[in-house]
Amino acid sequence: MLLSHYLGLLENSEKQLTDAFEHVSRKHKDEPDIEQICQKLSAWSREHHGKIMSFVEKYSEEQSNEPANLKRDLFTQKRSGSLALLRDLHDVWLLTQEVQLCWIVIRQAALGLRDEELKACYAFCSARTKRQGDWLLGRIKQAAPQTLLVAEE
């Protein structure tokens, strides 16, 4: 059974998302809404990560060594100016999509296994992941025109 493979991927992605929200919160603390909300959303991901760990243990007969480290490609450039905020939010949004997709895959397995706990965990976490993505997308849409048309480097 390769479920643990994907649980590992999810666990790793939630951890990266926790760190990413935390990173953006600190880096853009001059944007008060970014600082506050990103801290809150980071806490959500931390809580999700905790919940997932129990399933990682439950299905741990095979530990995967392929936690695709998406973060390696994100947040690496030293960005500054208005564009930095937009690009950083963009990257966090990509991470939320990674988490969401992991959940969709895992839910399929949970249905097959009839694992009610895992299904409940999916329902809880996946709904909140969508809300994380919705917030990021809303903020990205707000920042985009001003950043692309008016702001200077």
Partner: protein
């Protein structure tokens, strides 16, 4: 000199207990006998009392209440009776000023406007119109907001238009939209005449809306007095009359409201039939509030469980209920979510849409409702939905411009974001009208730095020199109330006309004339090459008539109103159209709300994160006229007292002053009644710090410090209070503006700043 009552010493005047119709009492104060009277309404609190302006030899000499007016039945408060004196103040701005070599120097109108126009054109050319922002106030008239809305949205096409109404009423609008699908107060002030119970949350009505409070006091003196529940951490005049007073810790409105709803649901005092027929979301709300047992509420908020039960009993058993909320809710943690709980209370009990049951999501300023209606604030004209292409097309048709000219690609920029863009340098021209952000914004040190930036061109349009005009590049002298004609809407949806009584001093011009002049000089045109609306308007009546068309078919329907109809009698409530020629006292009488997907003003937000909901998400909900019941769990404030800053600071208003005292500070009687700021401390805290009444106290937060004389008592231990009105124009010698201490952060949904809490320390100096 004639004065029917001394409103300074006796704020509310004598009592007339009543049942049924509130009796008339005409309050009047004139310095000389007027040669004629001119119809108007007061602009010094959100009540909007009908009044007449007394004129003698072309000069304002006094005011009197209008007996026929449905809002005040002739009464006026201390600000109304005394505030007009400011019009005659010798330090009015009378000529445009332009900054030359670092100094503001007198200029002609032509020079000032030419400079603004050439700067605008240069910026649009290089950076698009998104480099221009407008920051307006609740002191303008409806026609002026609409003119500004057309100039900004159809002329320039900038999304950056908001104002200080964001600081005081954004949460009122947000809460109404969240619950009912559109802005607009469901009830009427006349509900107070018959209601069985009144709930004031974070609203010191006795000081903030003195005339409305007179109505409550007169009910309390009558044969069937209503029961009063007041939620406020301070012991105010309002609290003195409360049947039950709940004094929660700062930032805990949500647990208290959740606790009340929980008790009412548990006791089966809800109207299940109404809930089933007219609302969505009951089960989720029930689940959220169920966690808030009275004991848990007591532990977190300090409100004794028995008191909470007592309050819930009143709110759960009354047959009619009026609820009001104001800054104690709007400027605090979880603002929109807390305000929405007030709406939920009425929906759960089915107490909405009929006489005696009203919700007043109060405003701070008299014309804030018109700002929101007209689109000079962070909304689109006529409560249109920025996410609805059809609504944008309606505006495009009205103005005969391409729909993409109207910025609707994301929510309109809110005030705090607007200031942030100025700070970052992407807004390069900021046009401020009728307000004084350098006293009213949070975290003043940051605001001052922004306005002083070299690369920000600042225009300030005001009647008086203020802390803000001092940093402007161009100052435009503006006419004010009494010197221009226009309409405005109060909290009860009542529209008043205020006729021009006297000429403005010197070369001062109305805000309307200034915006129309700008539109003409910018040569804004529609898509057929004809001058844009604003370029053809001769009078404010032209703008009013255009505005009527803009409201056709929308909740705030003005099509049945005209200048003629508004003149002579009482103010009129919207909607006023063929169906309701005299206006409509209650919205949602049939339990059908403004939530239909094609009609609603918003597709809603995530109450916790503020993320806007998409049209597709909304389709899944498909409310079809049902109201939303929404709830959230408690979240602690983002700054809490600690070892370094062990006390809570909260801010608020005084009965004798308005906003930043630009006007009320220039009326001798009001000035003398409250000449200086202060810091209010609990007796326990004063003893701990060795502070006596009147001692000078240094109050410090992470952002700044102020020096204030101490006033001791009537406040919970651990909390200090400073009134926010006071700045520096009349006393530059010591730091005293409360907003030196407050923080730059805001509610995720309404974007209203959190003025009501900050961690501070104090010491005697």
């Amino acid at each position: 000199m004639k004065e029917t009552r001394d409103s300074i010493a006796d704020i509310w005047g004598s009592r007339t207990g009543y049942e049924g119709q509130w009796p008339v009492r005409v309050d009047e104060r004139v310095e000389e006998e007027p040669d004629h009277w001119v119809q108007s309404a007061c602009v010094l609190c959100s009540n909007g009392c009908g009044c007449d302006i007394g004129v003698k030899d072309g000069r304002i000499v006094g005011v009197r209440g209008r007996a026929v007016d449905s809002v005040n039945h002739g009464r006026l408060g201390p600000k109304g009776l005394h505030g007009w004196v400011a019009n005659n103040s010798p330090d009015r701005l009378t000529k445009p000023l332009i900054r030359r070599n670092g100094k503001l120097e007198e200029a002609t109108w032509d020079e000032a406007m030419s400079l603004i126009v050439s700067k605008s054109k240069e910026l649009i050319d290089k950076h698009t119109a998104s480099s221009i922002g407008f920051y307006t106030s609740g002191q303008l008239f409806l026609e002026e907001y609409y003119a500004l809305g057309v100039v900004g949205k159809a002329g320039l096409g900038t999304p950056h238009m908001d104002g200080n109404t964001r600081l005081c009423t954004a949460t009122a609008a947000a809460a109404l939209k969240v619950s009912f699908g559109s802005d607009g107060q469901p009830g009427s002030y006349s509900d107070l005449d018959t209601t069985e119970a009144i709930l004031h949350v974070g609203h010191n009505i006795a000081s903030q809306q003195t005339v409305l409070w007179m109505r409550v006091l007169d009910r309390l003196a009558g044969p069937n007095p209503p029961k009063l529940v007041v939620i406020d951490p301070r012991a105010t005049y309002t609290v003195e009359k409360a049947t039950v007073h709940l004094a929660p810790r700062v930032g805990t409105n949500i647990p208290v409201m959740n606790g009340l709803l929980h008790l009412i649901i548990e006791a089966g005092q809800i109207n299940q039939e109404y809930i089933d027929a007219h609302t969505l979301g009951f089960e989720e709300l029930k689940q959220i509030v169920a966690k808030w047992t009275p004991d848990r509420v007591e532990r977190l908020t300090g409100v004794p469980a028995d008191k909470l039960r007592e309050a819930a009993h009143i709110l759960g058993t009354c047959n009619s209920l009026v609820s009001t909320a104001l800054q104690g809710v709007y400027q605090s943690m979880q603002a929109t979510a807390s305000a929405v709980q007030v709406n939920n209370l009425h929906l759960l009990r089915g107490l909405i849409g009929r006489p005696g049951s009203g919700i007043y999501q109060m405003n701070g300023q008299p014309t804030a409702q018109s700002t929101r209606e007209c689109g000079a604030d962070g909304d689109l004209p006529g409560f249109r939905n920025w996410g609805n292409e059809e609504h944008i097309q309606q505006l495009a048709d009205l103005w005969n411009v391409h729909p993409d000219q109207i910025p609707h690609w994301s929510p309109p920029t809110h005030a705090m974001q607007l200031w942030r863009y100025c700070e970052q340098g992407s807004i390069k021209m900021l046009w401020i009208s009728g307000t004084n952000p350098l006293v009213s914004l949070p975290d003043l040190a940051r605001a001052r730095k922004i306005l002083a930036k070299e690369d920000l061109f600042v225009i300030v349009q005001d009647a008086f020199p203020t802390e803000t005009t001092a940093l402007a590049d161009v100052v435009l002298p503006a006419a004010i109330w009494g010197e221009k004609t226009g309409c405005f809407t109060n909290v009860g949806r009542t529209v008043h006309i205020s006729h021009k009584a006297v000429d403005p001093p010197g070369e001062a011009r109305s805000d309307f004339d200034i915006f129309v002049d700008y539109s003409q000089r910018m040569d804004f045109r529609d898509k057929d090459g004809n001058p844009l609306l604003t370029s053809t308007w001769q009078t404010t009546e032209d703008a009013f008539n255009a505005w009527r068309e803009c409201t056709r078919g929308r909740p705030c329907d003005y099509t049945g109103m005209s200048y003629a109809k508004l003149t002579g009698g009482s103010g009129i409530q919207w909607p006023c159209n063929e169906q309701y020629p005299d206006g409509k006292p209650h919205l949602y009488e049939d339990g059908v709300f403004s939530t239909d997907i094609d009609y609603c003003e918003t597709y809603g937000h995530d109450l916790e994160t503020g993320a806007p909901r998409s049209k597709d998400d909304y389709k899944l909900l498909d409310p079809k006229g049902k109201a939303f019941l929404k709830g959230v769990d408690y979240e602690p404030p983002h700054e809490e007292p600690d070892e370094s800053y062990p006390l809570w600071l909260t801010t608020g208003r005084l009965v004798y002053h308005f906003h930043t005292r630009t006007k009320t500070g220039r009326s001798k009687a009001l000035y003398d009644a409250a000449p200086d700021s202060y810091v209010q401390l609990a007796t326990e805290d004063a003893a701990r710090y060795g502070i006596a009444e009147g001692d000078m106290v240094e109050v410090t937060s992470r952002r700044g410090k102020v020096l204030e004389p101490a006033r001791i008592g009537d406040i919970e231990p651990g909390l200090v209070f400073i009134p926010f009105h006071y700045g520096y124009w009349d006393k530059p010698d010591r730091p005293r503006a409360a907003n030196e201490l407050t923080l730059t952060e805001w509610d995720p949904v309404s974007k209203q700043p959190h003025f009501k809490y900050a961690a501070v320390r104090i010491r005697k100096v």
